[in-house]
Each structure stands twice: as C-alpha cells, then as structure tokens.
Symmetry: C2
Amino acid sequence: MTPEAAFIAALRSLAPHPAARGLADDCAVLELGGETLILTHDMMVEGVHWLPSQDPADVAWKLLATNLSDLAAKGAQPIGVLLGYTLAADNTRFAEGLGEALAHFDVPLLGGDTVHSPGAQTVGLTALGRATCKPVPSRSGARPGDSVWITGPVGAAMLGFEALCAGNASADTSAYRRPVPRLAEGRALAPLVSAMMDISDGLLLDASRMAEASGVTIALDPALIPVPADLPPARLREALSWGDDYQLLFTLPPATEPPCSAHRIGMVRAAGSAPLLLGEAAPSGQLGYEHR
Amino acid sequence: MTPEAAFIAALRSLAPHPAARGLADDCAVLELGGETLILTHDMMVEGVHWLPSQDPADVAWKLLATNLSDLAAKGAQPIGVLLGYTLAADNTRFAEGLGEALAHFDVPLLGGDTVHSPGAQTVGLTALGRATCKPVPSRSGARPGDSVWITGPVGAAMLGFEALCAGNASADTSAYRRPVPRLAEGRALAPLVSAMMDISDGLLLDASRMAEASGVTIALDPALIPVPADLPPARLREALSWGDDYQLLFTLPPATEPPCSAHRIGMVRAAGSAPLLLGEAAPSGQLGYEHR
C-alpha cells in the first residue's frame, strides 16, 4: 500500500458520516436546512500540478475549474468558494486569473486564508454548490446494460501540456491551462444518469473506479473514444490514462439518450474478471495519475 | 503595502458577495435554505506555523482547533470539515491526531484532498458550522460604553512554545500544541455580545482590528488582563502580542454580564486618536502576528 493509500484508508475510518460518502466520491453531499449542499476541496502544488514557468493567472483558473468540475459531476449549481493561498513572488497575476475565472463561471469568493511558506507554492480551494436534483449522482450507480458516455475528447490536456513544455507559442494549450468544467452538462445530465464523475485522473483509471464503486465491469470500445484531431493514433493508449481533461464520464439506463453533446464509448456489464475492459482486454500498465 | 496586504486587497475586490463580509471577518456567513452557514478555511505550513520537530498529531489537532476557534467566534455549531493535506514522511501520527481531535470536538470529516509536494508540508482545513443565533456576531458591533472581555489568559501559548523549543519535558506545552477552541462559550455569548472574535494573532492586534471594524477606540487596562501564573511580569507586553491563544475577545452592552467564565479587561470609547489604548497610551511596536 502506498503512503497515500494508507493515509486515505486511515482518514476513511474518521469519516463515517453519510455526507462523506466514504471519501470515495468527488464531493461530500450534505443535507442542510432543506437544501442539499455539495462540498469539495482540491489542492495544487507548484512543480507537481503546474510548471513553475506557467502564468499564475492560469494556475488560479485551473484551481477554480478543477473544483467546479467536481461540482459538475454532481449536477450542482456553484454557490461560492474559499481560497487557501501561500504567497509567491507574483501574486498579482494569480489574483487577476482568479478574478477572470470567478467572473467567467459566475461564482463569488467567500473567504479563505493567505500564509507565507518557505517551500513550493501550494494553493487549495473549497467549492460549495447546491444540488439541482435528487438523488445526487454518485460513482456507484452504474448497472449492467447501461451505456457509457463521455462529454468530450480525452488527450487534449496532454497535447497542451507538451506544447507548453516545448515552448510552442503557436499551439493551443488552453485545454491544459484553462480547462472548462462541464457545469451545464452536469446539471442537464444529473436527473438521467445512473452514475457520473469527472475524469480528472485519466479515463481508464476513473472508469475503473466507477466500475469498482458500482460493482460492475465497464467495457470501453477504443474506436469510439473521442480524441483531438491532432493526436497521433499510436498515442491513444497514453491519452486514455493522462488525465486533466475534466470531461464528465457517465452511464445511462437502456434507451435513455443524453440531453447534451456526448459520445457513447462503451457498455456496463455484470462484474467479470476485471472492472475495466478496453477492447475486450483488461488494460495493463498505469491507468492514470494516482497522486493528483 | 506588504505583498500579503496587496494580495488581500485584490481578493477583496473579488468578494463583493455579502456572505464574504468583505473578507474582514473570521468567517463567511451564508444564508442557505433556512439555515445560516458559517464557513472558514485556515492553512498551516511546516516551519512557519509549527516546528518541524513537533508531533504531527499535535499539528492535526491545532489545524482543527484553529478553524473551530473561528466558528466559536460566530457562536456556531460545527457541522463538519474538509482536509487539504500534502503527504509527509509520517502520515500515521497526523491521522491519529486528527482522529483524536475530531472525536474530542465531535465533528465529522466530510472530504478533502491529499497531494504530493516537494517542499514544506502544507495543510489546510475548511470548517463548516451552523449559526445558533441571529444576527451572527461580527467584529464590527462594538459601541462606546460597552465593556470588553476575554474568556481566558493570554501568553500561555508563548510559554508553551518556548518550553517546546527548549526541550523542557516537564513543562506543560499543551496551550501551544493543543489549543482548545471556546465553542461552548461562543454559543453562550453569541446572543449577548455586541462584537466578538478569536484572538489568534495576539490580543493587541486583534483588539485593534475589532476597534477599527467597529469605528471605536478600545481602551484595555493591562492590570486586568489575565495571564498565566508563571509569566514574568516584565514579559506582559510580549504576551499581549504573541498570539496563538485562541481565547474569545468580546464586547457587552452596559449592565450585561457574561454567561460564562470571562475577565473584564477594558472599555469601548468613542473613536479617539488611536483605535487601541493600553493603559491610556497607544501601544507602540508590533501588535501581533501579521502573517499567520
């Protein structure tokens, strides 16, 4: 067991409250005063989650976007955010990027904390949302016979990251720098899906997590998975485990069609020898980023 | 203007929502579905907010306690917390300490995030509570003629920190390592106070913040301020600005007595030449920790 897995197992024993969903979902789901509150907190670390050379405005955008993506997976309407911030050399660009992103997604900043740190810059954000439908979608509701869907391509963030590293100024790196959470799609899908999550850590890893949470096997057809037009075909397997795309992965009961643009990429089957099949074989190797 | 002050001023312009209270209060106060939600997020950094030699269990306790102290200042009942955690060499003791603290204060862990970091360990916590009375106390309600009170001594954390640094095994260092948020006192006081806050950053700095937020002068009588029995009298001024004591500072209208153990330490006056007087003179020098 990795140190992270051991730590999360220890935390899980501290989180028996039903709102915590066993720390196995994207968000906490808390009933409060006639509302259902959706809560998530994600952190990002310089040199781990972003390149030290990146514009801090993009870091701020991504911090907000990744947290809102967790709300999108619950079909939630964002209410507001709290920021945890360690001061850096350039704080102005971070504040500007955060302002752009808050305005773009129409979410207010409600509070937070600013501290000094001698080490790598670390930023955290807590996002609160309100559920727009009940029951709130989870990862665990996929049933044999359901179809499996994704809202858009995977691999765009990988290509954007590589262009950014290569200093390719003509390339569009926005998929990596400024991901767009699928908030409207999440709200439209929430009343219909049997399971839903965002695929921050890579399609294969996140699909296997959904399969395990649901006690089923998810069979993906690699020919159906949408990828960017400029992805070399030989790099498909890599794109499927790279992550950072923030699309929504969801399952629909038989004969249900999605109310938004989406791609059918597979089927749910009764639990078989492996939680995940890719073209009828269990994929080998790393399925995604385990340590984001 | 310090980089932190400039950054916070920039954030303030992004937080016009009334729930944010201008980022000038201990917590956000959000009306939601018939409840009033109280939200706070505090971070701690290794080498800044704790000694690298400290037991991680104490770090976990303090992280929870400092956030709950913000809820106490609002008279709030804690609902739950989300943890942001960068992995360290020893994660087991952190989880044990967090478990002890959650059980002690009867608060559930609801979610969070765990990440890797190459630098100083950084931990953050978001605490949610529900208001137990309306209006929710703020820093800005102190009025001339009100009396000024504190729930307990200041300086105990300073002495505990020094004993810890000196490796004095016989000394009681718990005031620094394991502060106790004044949750019950906060709830009892909330319906009565004209203003309330916790004094995490030092009595003088926090009292001057309350005076400025309220547009008054607060006059403290140094002879009335409770200190630990073992504080050398010559170190009183130092204790008043050291911080980390997590007592509640509050003001009461004339003739109102506190419903809990507390010490009257001064009076509120109409705004004079300085927001804070200590024995009739404006205190000079550093009033507290500006960068916690």
